[in-house]
Symmetry: C3
């Protein structure tokens, strides 16, 4: 269970963190992709990760490709099909049939695990847009190339772009200028091979090889696939076998799980909200990805108690509402103190302390964590180290009276998710006054 992550940099002084929207967009025939790129987002570089948000229109197919990193995907909206050809599974099937891959349905609130090097494709077979947010962990040792994210496309012309505004639905954020694309600048992998060799290898006509190379394809990353029928197991139906299309093979590691549903939340406070965590105990494939995820819901004005992530960075994407966030570094000053909005991304580095207070609309988020069994330590509330410390250590550390130490330890009965109002309105009033006088 050794972690295998590399720090992105030997020097990474974080003095200021910013809540960010994507810095680049690529419009395709049946959707668009928005990127938080490396080089543009200091905190992401420090955390050794990159993030993308795909919006896939109905009947949109994200072309088959393989990444050089593990990816963890959260389904923000919609439902669709995910296909993954697992490493080694196609190849080891010498005796059996030859159609070894995993195809599964996903829906809002699902986390999808996309192992590095495996071939992935995604299809929106429903009638409303799918929105996916994906974390790419460029620092995991599964990636032996440099720290840049690289996607190896197997079809289409991934550098092609539709004109802005065409083929693209959903809430458009007005933006004066997007930086130039830096990934997917080239063609797909077949484009680099010799025509004659490819013809020999596939034993097909020149025209097919030409289509394989996709030089004249202008559909972008997400193409319109009017007729795409894939038999997949119905939800709840275990390992349906269909020899014509899909076979659940021995390579049948579970690759997804839902954390959107209130059922099975790890923390639930009826007056405050809930937290659901997905780690490698619940979804074992995460052990090899060394990633995990947390889904959070805070009601209006509720507070997530101060805490730190002791073995992971936390990359938070706000899925709805807004929140005030304070993030504090080891010099005791806030590296972030402000509002984060739906659609924004913010990084809480390992060991940095954070408080989250939901706004008037409440706040929902998904947090990707760079450890398959991320641990948080509470700095207040029923599960905090303060409860654990002997009273005399508190008395002497904070220069307070034993009674004050007991207040600090026991006044707040709640644990992780704190209800919006302190339960003593009198104290509230007193405090407000004191703040005004001395604050």
């Amino acid at each position: 269970q050794l972690p295998g992550r590399l720090s992105g940099r030997s020097e990474c002084q974080i003095e200021q963190i910013t809540a960010r929207e994507p810095n680049r967009r690529q419009v395709s025939e049946a959707g668009f992709s928005e990127f938080w790129d490396s080089g543009e987002n200091e905190e992401l570089d420090c955390a050794g990760v990159q993030v993308v948000r795909h919006t896939i229109n109905p009947k949109g197919l994200l072309l088959p490709c393989y990444p050089n990193t593990h990816e963890l995907v959260y389904v923000v909206r919609g439902e669709g099909l995910q296909g993954t050809v697992l490493p080694g599974c196609a190849e080891t099937s010498e005796g059996g049939t030859d159609k070894h891959q995993r195809v599964y349905r996903y829906r809002e609130g699902d986390i999808l695990a996309l192992p590095a090097g495996a071939v992935h494709w995604t299809y929106n077979h429903a009638d409303k847009p799918v929105v996916l947010v994906a974390l790419r962990d460029t620092s995991n040792v599964a990636n032996q190339l440099d720290r840049n994210f690289r996607k190896f496309f197997l079809a289409g012309n991934p550098q092609s772009q539709m004109p802005q505004g065409k083929g693209h639905q959903g809430k458009q954020q007005q933006r004066p200028s997007w930086s130039e694309p830096k990934e997917h600048e080239g063609f797909n992998m077949y484009a680099g091979f010799d025509d004659g060799i490819l013809q020999q290898v596939f034993d097909v006509e020149y025209e097919i090889v030409s289509q394989l190379k996709g030089f004249n394809d202008d559909r972008g990353l997400i193409v319109l696939a009017e007729y795409l029928h894939v038999l997949v197991p119905e939800e709840g139906e275990e390992r349906r076998r269909d020899d014509n299309w899909i076979e659940q093979t021995i390579c049948s590691t579970q690759l997804s799980a839902n954390i959107g549903s209130p059922v099975g939340a790890d923390v639930y406070n009826p007056r405050g909200g809930r937290i659901s965590r997905l780690n490698s105990h619940k979804l074992p494939v995460l052990e090899s990805l060394q990633l995990s995820a947390e889904r959070g819901v805070l009601y209006k004005n509720a507070v997530l108690a101060p805490h730190y992530n002791l073995n992971a960075h936390s990359i938070i994407y706000i899925t709805s509402g807004n929140s005030r966030l304070q993030i504090v570094g080891n010099d005791g000053s806030a590296v972030f103190d402000g509002e984060v909005q739906e659609g924004q991304l913010i990084v809480v580095p390992q060991d940095f302390a954070v408080i989250k207070k939901a706004g008037e609309e409440g706040c929902e988020w998904v947090a990707f964590k760079t450890n398959d069994n991320a641990i948080t330590m509470q700095l207040a509330g029923r599960f905090s180290y303060i409860r654990a410390l002997p009273e005399d250590v508190l008395v002497n550390s904070y220069n307070i009276s034993p009674e004050e130490a007991r207040n600090l330890k026991y006044n707040r009965k709640e644990g992780v998710v704190l209800s919006p109002r302190s339960r003593s309105p009198l104290k509230e009033a007193q405090n407000a006054l004191l703040n005004t006088l001395f604050g």
Copy 2:
């Protein structure tokens, strides 16, 4: 059992090693701390570690904090209490009581394991100073931040300093100037949060929040705690439960072990000295820290046979006496050849060969090793590779006669710790003469 350490640098040419005293000191109310900082100590940077020495006066409390690295501590002198809130232990205690931490006594010769991210505090409850030397492994992948050591204080004003000389006992090493502090420049973690939110979170008065933030605290890292009573299990008493104070929980991994005592030494030569090693076989928590330690005692003029650390750096701190050391790199030249004294620190890089010869007072040391199961290979003596090599390989490699090869293999009967005198005084005299003539 894969190691998970990162080389601190991609280029790290070690041409000269220095025995070093600390380069910085911070004086607190009840003790002082001396630092071997990164940036100031080339060899430590190359080894990817930093070192601190704390001197804690009687009734001194080192304030609660959590580090971004694993730490391995050796108790040079004194006895005290160590408190560690283990990751996950406070939080998982939903059903039970809420005071989950480990508090244990330590004494001279103990090694303490301080896992990264866990909250630690230390108290000197006895009547003489405690001296601790701590290795911080900034290269372990447990640290996902950059390679700098960072300590996240949870109380006090860690940047505050007492005037030099005040509040500080023990042997003072005169030093013209200390470099400016670079760590702990700021406040504790609570200082960065908003007063109102903290009041809400803890449900306490403004005054308590103010004390929590510690802005006006000038006691430094180690504060005087006249009254600090913690019930801890007596030595030898297993898992005493006291529901008011301390509970030995399911999170009861053993976090310390003694290597100071002659009993149980791994190597013992009654004419030369002894070596005691503490690895993850003996203290399993070291497996996750990927660190181990060695305690050595050489009598007057005894020699530690030439050897190298094949899977670890060795960071040696001299606890008493002095020693001549020769360290040889892969170009066959000595990167160090000199005396090391009590209180000095020296690094022997992985694979570099080293000989240690105690001075007139003998020499004692602790060596921290950057592998939880550090292996040494002997270059002379009964357990050396020379004994293992076929005679003819020696004859041809060294251009010597078969008899000479047998001398090389078998003359020295001892293994690791060699007695001060060669046991053939005649040869000694001959050699002295030959040295004079041809040396």
Copy 3:
């Protein structure tokens, strides 16, 4: 089973790959060594490895030394003896005899595992030259020093060189100038220690110490050993015990295996050739080395189907014949498109796609892979992801008809090694015409 490799660099843009011959040569008394150095070979630096080729004349002894990295050796030609003093084995033999090491015979087609830090020596006891090609993995975390390969010699004067042409047999490649040696610039490890201390430590005469240091030795790395008799187990004879010379100890991990023989090939196409793979399932010591190897044989004009290495770099050394190679990166352009010849080395980075087409003489190679269980994914043929993808995904991805999709999936019945000719000469002719018209 977490990989523990570090990327050699944080930035490593590979835009051009070159098939390379060694850039440096060192001639010794009984052979010569040719180096692909770091700093001189961009792709090797990016892959975090270095390579050497030793040619050892009959009765040549490569001097005992220990490397700071794991090494994986392929025996290109000849047969000899390999001695390895395993870490910890000499030392733990307190109760028994003191000659704990492994000595084993090797022959053409063998892979030898040389763990980092262990003492190794090699002897050519036969009557024709031995040629060894060794990969050094400077990026494995077993190496805690910087990313440079370092060899710590225990005998001789490793910086010494014979004049060019002397003492050196075998096919000499004419070369105008070699770059200056950068490794082994110094003496052996004993040279750095004080004479008097070494005399005391070994309890031997000054003359022996002087020979140990080897200052006047001019034989280089590989010395002539006319009389070197070591009893080793006969091939097929399990664990022969000879108390005078060699003992197979509890430290008897198997350190070698043969991949040269056609028997037991993993892939065999009687019209195309074969592939034999050696991973940690077959040779468990590779799990700690995190390296594996592949031996390939392609008959005249046969093709290795396009594929990528999904969890490893592949470092290919051509042992005979020649081949056309195309290597394609994530921008869909060829980073290499040309011939590679016997004796040349070429790197295929992780995830990059490659096609190999043997020349008129056929082609044989060994590929070292930077993962103990390297996985390849096929981009064409019976085991490719294309077989696994649903037909409709192909139709939409490539804008082709269902019939064309089926051709792409099923026309090529072969898997990994493809026979030289497409099996439909008619199509061949059609394609040639189409190429001329539109290609």
